[in-house]
Amino acid sequence: MANDPIKQFEITRIVPLENVAGLDLSFTNSSLFMVASVAAASAFLYFGSANRGLVPSRLQSMAELSYEFVASMLRDAAGTQGMRFFPFVFSLFMFVLFANMFGMFPYFFTVTSHIIVTFALAMLVIGTVVVYGFMKHGLKFLGLFVPEGVPGYLVPLVVLIEIISFLSRPISLSVRLFANMLAGHITLKVFAGFVVSLGALGAAGVAGAILPLIMVVAITALEFLVAFLQAYVFAVLTCMYLNDALHPSH
């Protein structure tokens, strides 16, 4: 099928390294766009901060704006103590934002539309929370699972539910980002496909194709919003979970 809406998510090997110690370490289009996201984010911040003008240039004020944005988000959610995680949260935010935005270019690959990528990012967050929580608070970190004021006979049940709820965090964190990107890109592709197939039907079809064309334009704008919003949501939730690691007590 010419306009298969799933084809855009296909992984292709660019540099095939299919059997390195039993692992497929090929450099794929996904890897390429991950490298591109990292390179673009680094270049943006490097050139943004290269001049260090007292009166910032446009690029510098954009870089400062993104710094302030993430810093205030982290301070609000986890307090000033949370600022030790700033490099981590800022890198995550910039990576997800650039990966999402790269996905908005036609013919570009969307890294975050694959659940394994978003799940790896989410596991990084939860792994940090767990490791740092146990390092800082020891066994008191487990107090996170015991809400206070619960009657004694309900504690085992509530603790089990809280543990499952905690373990479900990386899944919901990754599924949310992945599903938003996947659904948005499929919707775009399907509506764009309508335009083409209706346009092939002759004069009446061309007239009818105007409606999906308007939809495609509107959805493209919405997708830019979603691309930013999902990076924001991912970073906010990261801050909230890190807050649990810093202050697990009730």
Binding site: I161, L167, S168, L222, L229
Partner: protein, 134 residues
């Protein structure tokens, strides 16, 4: 609508004691609503507005459903693993699937802001101070 047999203990769970056991239903519902409003996490209006304005209904739906599904998946996964290790097929799966449902509902309520986060640090302390906890 009077229930003289009602024990004060259930009213205490609602966060405040109603001394008159003959208090009518309307009054008790009001008390419960107040208690729930106190229990709910307080968010500043600015943040609320930003999230309302920016997040479309579609985004909210994805958020809620991912929270719910994640709870169930983790519950089922844990139950399955437990069964594999302990050889209690299928009871672990059954029990943990239901616990997963409960965790999913808890996740959704938290995402909707109806139940306070497990630990909101200093803020959580303040919210929790006036109630019996969740």
């Amino acid at each position: 609508m009077k229930k003289p047999t009602r024990t004060p203990a259930t009213d205490e769970q609602a966060g405040r004691v109603i001394s008159n056991p003959n208090a009518d239903l309307e009054q008790r519902r009001q008390a419960l609503e107040d208690a729930l409003a106190q229990r709910a996490p307080k968010r500043d209006a600015a943040e609320e507005g930003r999230q309302e304005g920016a997040g479309s209904g579609f985004g909210a739906a994805l958020k809620m459903s991912s929270e719910f599904v994640a709870g169930i998946l983790v519950g089922a996964g844990l139950g399955y693993l437990l069964d594999l290790l302990a050889g209690t097929t299928p009871w672990g799966l059954i029990v943990f699937l239901f616990l997963g449902f409960a965790a999913g509902v808890l996740n959704v309520l938290r995402a909707a802001g109806r139940v306070a986060q497990p630990a909101d640090g200093a803020r959580g302390e303040r919210l929790r101070g006036n109630g019996a906890g969740d």
